[in-house]
């Protein structure tokens, strides 16, 4: 067991692609925790999807030893943090398990929105911040600019910041020495009652939930009965230990200052909320550690199997995903149009995309996803307040006193040349300008209050395309504000298609309605009869397009009795039919549902 003075608990924080995972790999490699052969690119990001997107979705942690120049051997616990705004709370809990943070800044790009957001989070948690300037091997590197920005914008000294290239392995020892010197050893009293912070967990089919903890005070041993202070669940510790590179390293006991894991035959991951405090049943601490929040989904969407008969497969897949991700919720939902499916809650759009992609890739499912919706707060005339996450449940407008929608505080960092177009974008999305600061002569930091609803469609894509990929975005929930909202219904051949309804700001209803009708018209194939495509608010039609009846669909020639083409065509039609939903008498392909989710302004 390491002495508490020889422990260092830290995170690495960075904007996407600034080199967080690469540095983590190099630290492990340098200290011999892994050898190069074992190193599978970026092992901390061990989900395939993460690697493709270059982001770490879920926190992971690893312990490794470093023999410093002062002659002492230190135990370093690197706690990885998710790198996206959707996972802000998870980041905050990981940081709460640390005493320090290595802040990586790409010397070719300088400070970006997430650099800032994460740095502020670290400051909020009283962490010692160790700035590191990365990618100095690149020709466009400007380490001095990066240092200046760190000092000017974040307000921490950066003159001595190590200048490294994680990719080339330059300056790694320097970083390790600074971690040992600058980041304080954990404080904690092992004689006090147990106080341990849960910062991550995952489900293992053999051990049950594996809970990652940081012991703040006291100690915990195999056989102890522990209680999760917020959920109230109690368990007996079966196994505990520290986290080595590729496996769990079993121990008898974990003490104040240490980072490790335990298992306790826990079947349900929801019993181990990130941020909860673990204490002993017999000798509990007085109160839980601060900062606990039940993670709340912000975005909801219906997920349906493209092939209605695959409902059971979808349910199994969701059950499995949920085992490892308690922040995602789902419950049974039925749609007249789409049959059986699930209403799913996500932390944000990225989270939603990740879940969708995992369902499609890992479980080979074809999905139809309905338009994502935020949660609306509706104050009714009878004094009741309801929260609506599904447009289908939107109350009769006559019963609504005030309808409120969630707003977020958004930070956009952009090269100054795009400030104009981005302000235009934010205005178009009903943004409320707060302020703007110039980071330097080239870049500006914009603050807007934006309706979350406007962000969840394709705000990020638009932002990227309007800034040639340079602008970055970060946002956090602010509050609910009264808004003029309408429920927009889409009718095909005169029938409302519930799965296509959505809630929209009244000022945006007409253009949205027109655009969606056009898109549906373009995506619904011609059929044997003419199909009116209409959009309506209440009973009032506000937009209409028509899918004309098909005029020609025939294989005129089956020359010399060759009917193979005809038979192939029939097989193709059968395949196509599997990806179609029949709504009343209208056949609607999966693409049509997809198309209405994107709303480009053009």
């Amino acid at each position: 067991m390491a002495e508490i003075e020889k422990i260092r608990n830290f995170s690495i924080i960075a904007h996407i692609d600034h080199g967080k995972s690469t540095l983590a790999d190099r630290l492990l490699e340098y200290t011999g925790a892994v050898d190069k052969r074992e190193l599978d690119e970026q092992m901390l990001d061990n989900m395939e999807l993460e690697r493709e997107r270059g982001i770490t979705i879920k926190a992971r942690a690893v312990r490794f030893n470093y023999k410093a120049d002062d002659g002492n051997e230190y135990a370093l616990n690197l706690i990885d943090t998710p790198g996206h705004v959707d996972f802000g709370y998870e980041v905050s809990r990981s940081l709460a398990a640390c005493e320090g943070a290595v802040l990586i800044v790409d010397s070719t790009q300088g400070i970006q929105a997430q650099t800032l957001a994460n740095a502020y989070l670290a400051v909020d948690h009283d962490l010692e911040i160790l700035p590191v300037i990365n990618k100095i091997d690149l020709p466009s590197a400007d380490p001095e600019m990066a240092k200046r920005e760190i000092e000017d914008i974040i307000g921490i000294p950066a003159e001595d910041a190590p200048c490294i290239s994680a990719k080339m392995g330059i300056g790694i020892k320097d970083v390790l020495e600074r971690i040992v010197k600058d980041i304080p050893a954990p404080k904690g009293d092992k004689s006090k009652p147990l106080e341990a912070l849960i910062f991550d967990s995952y489900y293992d089919p053999y051990k049950g939930v594996v809970v990652y903890i940081r012991v703040k005070n006291g100690s915990v041993s195999v056989g102890d009965r522990v209680r999760m202070m917020h959920t109230g669940a109690e368990f007996e510790i079966v196994e505990l230990g520290t986290l080595s590179t590729f496996a769990l390293d079993k121990k008898e006991k974990l003490e104040a200052g240490e980072v490790g894991y335990f298992t306790a035959s826990i079947k349900n991951i929801a019993d181990t909320d990130v941020g909860d405090t673990v204490t002993l049943v017999d000798n509990p601490c007085e109160k839980p550690l601060p900062g606990f929040k039940k993670s709340q989904p912000m975005v909801y969407a219906g997920i349906y199997p493209a092939d209605g008969s695959k409902y059971g497969d979808l349910k199994d897949a969701l059950d499995k995903l949920r085992l490892n991700d308690s922040s995602f919720t789902y419950e049974l939902e039925t749609s007249v149009a789409l049959g059986f499916g699930f209403r799913c809650g996500f932390l944000g759009l990225l989270h939603m995309e990740i879940i969708e992609e995992r369902l499609e890739r890992e479980f080979m499912l074809d999905l139809i996803t309905t338009a994502p919706s935020v949660i609306y707060e509706i104050h009714k005339t009878n004094g009741e307040t309801v929260y609506i996450d599904n447009p289908t449940n939107y109350p009769d407008p006559a019963t609504i006193e005030t309808a409120c929608e969630p707003f977020v505080k958004a930070t956009v960092i952009t090269p100054t040349e795009y400030v104009g177009t981005i302000m235009q974008l934010c205005n178009d999305r009903r943004g409320e300008y707060v302020d703007m600061k110039y980071i330097d002569t080239n870049r500006a930091e914009l603050h807007y209050l934006l309706p979350l609803n406007e962000i969840i469609y394709d705000f990020f894509d638009s932002l990227k395309s309007k800034s040639k990929g340079y602008a970055s975005l970060d946002y956090e929930f602010k509050d609910y504000r009264p808004s003029k909202l309408s429920k927009l219904d889409i009718l095909l051949n005169g029938d409302v298609v519930d799965a296509l309804s959505f809630i929209v700001h009244s000022d945006r209803a007409y253009p949205r309605a027109r655009r969606i009708c056009e898109k549906l018209k373009d995506n619904i194939p011609r059929q044997l009869f003419e199909i009116p495509v209409q959009a309506a608010i209440g009973g009032k039609i506000i937009a209409r397009e028509t899918v004309k009846a098909m005029r020609k669909d025939v294989l005129a020639k089956c020359y010399g009795g060759d009917i193979t083409r005809k038979k192939k065509l029939l097989e193709k039609q059968k395949e196509g039919k599997k990806r179609m939903r029949t709504l009343g008498t209208v056949e609607v392909p999966q693409e049509a549902f997809m198309a209405v989710l994107k709303y480009d302004d053009e």
């Binding site: 044997l528 669909d553 020639k557 020359y559 009795g561």
Partner: protein, 368 residues
């Protein structure tokens, strides 16, 4: 029973020149020597075919069958006549191209036993004929029809293409009247299909094709003109005067068995659908071994009952006689009739001219 009789198709993949729109298997300018060997291969294959069934129709298609040599065609007909029992009123059709047969040739074919001609007229407009790479004029086509009558053919069909480039609806309507004046008995009409790899496809951007509206007007003109001239629209692409329906083609749609002789020919026989590859030399070589050696019969699956049922509906709906619809699809069939695409009575769905135009969708509607 279908097994009591069989139809024969002969594929003659030779042409004087490939037409610019043609994607069928056919070769231009082949030597007499090759044609002789191909002819001998066909003769051998005829002798391999079991004699236990009556032959009810024979069809020589291509390509341009007379380019095999009219004397050879005659010998093939005579060989069939000698080896098999032909059913009463056996229909023996030869496809001809107006530029390739004279009166004398037609007389020879007629006296050998051919009793139906299918003439590639395609258009009544010489400018259009030239633009799609045909080698004849309309006048030659008219002459060919007259010669055929004189040679004793009482059943004459013409092939026609509509939706051709650079032709107005009015010109097309006028041309159709001119074709009517030739007093043919049967018409096969197709809209131009641009097939990848054809010269016409390569030139498609230089040409002015009729739009969807124009194509539909031409189709409506066809349906109206032919009805006015006493033709029945009895199949997707076929029109006939009473009693002049093509027996050979109807056999395809009623799932009667047929055997295809020659390279690239398709068969539905002995319970399987199969074909011989588009390779003349390989065909000649393999024709020595057995009837099925030149084909992929061994690799082809037997037509299952489910498939047979699908085929029955799919092919049945191609004709004006329609198909018996399974009860599960009655509602769909009723809806199709109500939309004006045909009639649905006593469980039988029959498509009309409007229905034929969208028959793929209708078939999918019934079957899936």
């Amino acid at each position: 029973m279908t097994n009591n009789s069989v139809s024969f198709y002969f594929h003659i993949p030779f042409c004087a020149k490939k037409c610019d729109y043609c994607a069928f298997f056919s070769l231009a300018k082949q030597s007499e020597e090759l044609k002789q060997r191909y002819f001998e291969a066909l003769l051998r294959q005829i002798d391999f075919f079991p004699t236990d069934r009556k032959v009810k129709t024979v069809y020589f298609g291509g390509g341009t069958p007379p380019l095999l040599g009219v004397h050879r065609l005659c010998k093939l007909i005579e060989a069939i006549n000698g080896r098999f029992v032909l059913s009463d009123e056996c229909e023996i059709t030869v496809e001809v191209n107006p530029g390739t047969v004279d009166f004398d040739a037609l007389c020879k074919l007629r006296s050998a036993g051919a009793n139906r001609l299918s003439i590639g007229v395609q258009s009544a407009n010489d400018r259009v004929l030239m633009s799609i790479g045909r080698i004849h004029t309309f006048e030659q086509a008219r002459e060919c029809i007259e010669n055929a009558r004189k040679a004793g053919f009482e059943n004459i069909s013409a092939d026609l293409i509509f939706a051709l480039p650079s032709q107005s609806d009015e010109e097309f309507a006028k041309g159709l009247e001119m074709i009517m004046s030739t007093e043919i008995d049967h018409l096969s009409i197709y809209s131009l299909q641009l097939e990848e790899g054809t010269p016409l496809f390569a030139r498609k951007n230089e040409l002015c094709f009729p739009d969807e509206d124009s194509e539909e007007r031409q189709y409506d003109t066809i349906c109206a003109t032919l009805a006015a001239n006493g033709f029945e629209h009895y199949e997707v692409s076929s029109f006939a005067k009473p009693n002049y329906r093509s027996k050979h083609n109807l056999n395809y749609w009623s799932r009667g068995e047929y055997f295809g002789f020659g390279a690239g020919a398709h068969s539905y026989c002995f319970g399987k659908r199969f074909c011989a590859p588009n390779d003349v030399e390989a065909y000649i070589q393999n024709s020595r071994t057995s009837l099925l050696a030149p084909t992929d019969f061994d690799d082809a699956p037997f037509v299952s009952e489910t498939e047979a049922e699908e085929e029955r509906i799919m092919l049945g709906l191609r004709t004006a006689d329609g198909a018996i619809i399974p009860e599960a699809s009655f509602d769909n069939a009723k809806r199709i009739a109500a939309l004006g695409y045909g009639s649905f009575e006593n469980g039988v769905l029959r498509l009309n001219g409007k229905g034929f135009r969208v028959s793929n969708s209708i078939i999918a509607n019934i079957l899936i």
